[in-house]
Each structure stands twice: as structure tokens, then as C-alpha cells.
């Protein structure tokens, strides 16, 4: 399968590096096709991937990870192009965090809207699935780094797309299907993005971003 990863920041590189080790073909996209970050990453994986612009990668991928930072997501997806993304699953990972005023960050969108919804509204022909945004990127690609049961949350308007994303996260990264909780339509991005307000504080309290939460049902 051809997989595109938009964004060559920490999250995009982590996901790209993990996927390069599979049998799939990977293309990383960034604003400039020959970005220094992209070139450096390509060397780190012994050239076993392609790199290009957001549009190159979106056109290449059969499934697309949006690993751009929250503030850059919509501009990057516009560069990727609605035509190149049309009909494809877009795994929307970034959170709308504003770190400009220090830590802990606030959210640039919340409560009555979310980044996941904004992306789906602007790209109605794309099968947007919000996923992976409630854990650090090291946990995204290696859930066994956290022992025992701990959970991911996904949401989106396309049930088949969510089933496929669930299967892929299990296959590629080692998540257990029973630990992936489908919250419903894309408006539920508000819940998972607003969880970041607690997540960043837990990071501060625990002194590490390497943790996750498990939802424990009552009796």
C-alpha cells in the first residue's frame, strides 16, 4: 500500500520511520519538497522512502496521515489539495495547541468546534478520521511502551473508514482493537482535543510524555 505522511516534525518522522519498516511504500510531504528536515529524515531511513511536497505526497498516498501541527493543518491540507485527497482516508493527528504563550499550552479551537471538524468541513470529499492525538508519538507507534491496557479514541463520519483505520493501527503499530474506542462522528474531536488540556498537565506532573489513560468500566 502507498502511505503518505504529511509533516516532517516529530510526529511525522516517528510515524514515517515506523512505516518504513513495513512492506508498504512511504512518501513524506512537507511545504518544500527538498526541506532540510525531510532530507535529514530520508538519510536516517537509508533512503527507503520518497519525499515531496504536501501535494506530491497526497497524490501518492492511498491513505494519508496528517501529522502537521494544529496551526498548520489547514494551510498544509490546502497545499496538499482537495483533488489529491479526494475519497481517501485522512488520519488527522494534530491538535490545535497554542504554545506561543508558554506551557501549558491553550487550544486555538475548542468547546464549540474542533480541528477535526474544521478539516472535515473544508474537505467534505475526504474521509477524515481523528485518531492518535491523545498520546505522545512514541506511544502512537509503540503502544507496548505503556504496559497493560490503555486506550486510543477515534472518531469520524465514515464508519468504514474508522474500521479500516482501526485495523491499520493494530497492524502497523501494534494497537489492540479492544483498546480503540470509537466515539462517533467527527464532532467528538472536541472531546479528544480538549483532553489535551489534562494531558499536558499530566505530562508536567509525571515529568514524562510517556503515559496513556485506560478507561475502566464500572460494575
Amino acid at each position: 500500500m502507498k502511505i503518505a505522511v504529511l509533516g516532517t516534525g516529530m510526529v511525522g518522522k516517528a510515524i514515517g520511520t515506523k512505516l518504513v519498516k513495513t512492506d508498504h511504500q512511504i512518501m513524506m510531504g512537507s511545504r518544500e519538497a527538498k526541506s532540510a528536515a525531510g532530507q535529514e529524515w530520508l538519510r536516517s531511513v537509508d533512503g527507503k522512502a520518497k519525499i515531496g511536497t504536501f501535494a506530491d505526497a497526497a497524490a501518492f498516498g492511498e491513505i494519508v496521515f496528517d501529522c502537521t501541527s494544529g496551526a498548520n493543518a489547514l494551510p498544509a491540507l490546502r497545499q496538499a489539495g482537495a483533488v489529491n485527497l479526494s475519497g481517501k482516508i485522512l488520519i488527522q493527528v494534530g491538535n490545535p495547541l497554542d504554545t506561543s504563550k508558554g506551557m501549558p499550552p491553550t487550544l486555538t479551537i475548542c468547546n464549540t468546534d474542533s480541528l477535526g471538524e474544521q478539516v472535515q468541513r473544508e474537505f467534505p470529499g475526504v474521509r477524515v478520521v481523528k485518531a492518535l492525538n491523545t498520546v505522545n508519538c512514541d506511544i502512537m507507534i509503540n503502544p507496548s511502551r505503556v504496559p497493560g491496557d490503555h486506550d486510543l479514541f477515534i472518531c469520524g463520519n465514515d464508519a468504514a473508514a474508522k474500521r479500516e483505520v482501526t485495523d491499520r493501527l493494530c497492524e502497523w503499530f501494534g494497537w489492540k482493537a479492544g483498546n480503540i474506542i470509537d466515539l462517533g462522528d467527527i464532532s467528538n474531536s472536541r472531546g479528544t482535543e480538549m483532553f489535551l488540556a489534562l494531558w499536558v498537565r499530566l505530562w508536567g506532573t509525571l515529568g514524562t510524555p510517556h503515559f496513556n489513560i485506560h478507561v475502566v468500566p464500572g460494575k
Copy 2:
């Protein structure tokens, strides 16, 4: 010990009913001293408590639970009176949920402020501890209803007050100290209140409010 519970809604009644079974003296406070909800509750506990106005209860209590709904918290605390609350621990439980537009609710305050902070700012002489607001009231008073480890979050500006609240939640309700996570000062209420956006969606997905989360540290 004399314990006041402000608010005769679902949360206040659950906490009051649990505390009546201890050796402590309990007084419930509401807007009107002889409110129907208060009288009905008093009969349900065989008259083994006092009821009065918010001011009566605040003056009575050595420690005060604020179980008013988020929208009513500041008006109720003004009625309780800064003088009656001065120097006391106030366990601030309510969340600023707006259910007027249906489910899931939005928050009336979030991101750059929180109800916990608003209460502490308006009542600087009160030792405000935000606690219990991330679980359903049945779990608050009976954590064993959720099996195994699951966590509470507390925050506040007064370290001694947080230690005392931790001890009391263990003693009165059966929480384990190791499952109570101190996030720091009262501004961390933003994190626990915004978690409600995920909590209400998990309630919808799981079909029950009887669950909690456990923070699982990574390796």
C-alpha cells in the same frame, strides 16, 4: 468534625448521604433553608443531619463541599458568604457545563480560565481544592464500584489543604491515596474541567456514567 455540603442536587445528596453514615456532623445548604429537595433528603437519612441556607451551612462546616452546579457555584458561594467560608477548605466539585443546548454539553468557561480559578479569585481567603469533578457522583463516594486502579485529580494553591482533602477522600469515601493525582495549583482546574468534554462523550459511547480513567505510566 462538622461538614457542610452546599447544593441539594444529585451530587450534594450523594455526598451528604454517604457522610451521614460516618461519625461526623453534616449540614446541607441550599438557597432556601426549607427547600423541598432538602426536606426530602433529610427524611431519606432519617433526619440524621441538619439543613439550612448556604450561609447556615458554610458557617456550620469546618470543611465545605461545593456541590452546586457549575452555573450556580458563584451565586451560591456569594450567598454562603466570604466571612462564613474564610480560612476553610472548600472542595469545589461542580463543572461549568452548559446543558441548555442538549447533549453533549459545552463548557461555559474553559481554555484560558476555569470555574476552580474563578472561585479562588473571588474568595481569596478560602482554601479552594478542585476535586471529584471527573467522575460520576456514585463513583465519587464509592470508588470500588470501578474495579482496580483508577484515578482522581486534585489541584489547588494550598498544599496543606490538598493533603487534608486527599486524606479525607480516602477516609470518607475509600479512595486510595496512590490514585489521587495532585496536578498543582488551581489553574490546573482547566485540565480537569476540560476533560469533561471527553467524559460526556465516553458516557454516551459506554452508555453509562459509571466508569473512570486510570493514568498508566510508560516504561
